[in-house]
């Protein structure tokens, strides 16, 4: 996807974290969208493991594919669907928070560099 080496030097861990957060957001939205689909199995990315493998040089698509797991259902439902809306909503807002945090670190870095370039 992106140039991992470049990303690392400029934004540190947050460049990678941001990409991963946005992938995870898509996956959690998929779970929420399929809350009423029979036989749908909820999935989630193991964020810590995926970030670790991305930091060790794996590209983002491989890292997410390798660390995607089916969620263990809290309560099994009759139609084979394993989405628990509350769990998904909590995970979604936690993930959005993480995204915002990474984003503010990145924009802080961008600010610093911009000021250095302008010589303020």
């Amino acid at each position: 996807m992106s140039d991992a080496a470049n990303n690392t030097s400029l934004f540190g861990i947050h460049g990678m974290a941001l990409e991963l957060r946005s992938q995870r957001m898509g996956m959690l939205t998929s779970n929420i969208a399929n809350a009423a689909t029979p036989n749908y199995k909820a999935k989630d990315i193991d964020f810590t493991a995926a970030l670790k493998s991305e930091m060790s040089g794996t590209n983002i698509d491989a890292a997410t594919a390798k660390n995607t797991q089916f969620r263990v259902p809290v309560m099994p439902s009759l139609d084979g669907n394993t989405v628990d809306l509350n769990t998904e909503q909590v995970a979604f807002s936690q993930n959005a928070m993480g995204y915002s945090t990474s984003l503010s670190f990145i924009s802080g870095r961008v600010n610093t560099i911009t000021r250095a370039i302008k010589g303020e």
Partner: protein, 136 residues
């Protein structure tokens, strides 16, 4: 309308919303036809039900939901002997649509809750993306 190609988070939420909308429409039709009377068993209204199916985009692991079809349920109409009814058949029977109003109300509430969850997810995603683009 299952289209091929890459899904993004907006497609996922948007199509999920239209699927919930179909479900809400079927529940509304069922409610509107609750208590509808007919003179033969064959022509009596049967409740509609939307059938959801997952649509997976293997390329990025996202999956959205499609309405695979809207089916009529096989519930049997309620037969009632009422010779004075204007629609009564030769035996004096009328048939009432087998709609469970409570079940339909629950269906509608569930559907509207899931719809609003998707709206919430969509607006959060939108906000985060705008924040990223504007970088502030």
């Amino acid at each position: 309308m299952p289209t091929s190609g890459n899904l993004n988070i907006f497609d996922v939420a948007g199509r999920g919303m239209s699927a919930q909308m179909v479900r809400m429409n079927t529940a509304a039709s069922n409610l509107a036809n609750a208590g509808a009377v007919s003179s033969s068993e064959a022509s009596t209204y049967r409740p509609l039900r939307a059938v959801f199916a997952q649509q997976l985009d293997a390329a990025n692991g996202l999956s959205t939901v499609n309405v695979a079809g809207v089916v009529r349920t096989a519930a049997t109409p309620l037969k009632e002997h009422n010779p004075n009814h204007p629609l009564a058949d030769a035996n004096g029977d009328v048939f009432t649509a087998p709609v469970d109003e409570n079940a339909e109300m629950v269906e509608m509430l569930d559907s509207s809750r899931q719809y609003s969850n998707l709206v919430e997810a969509l607006s959060t995603a939108k906000q985060l993306m705008l924040d990223t683009v504007r970088m502030k």
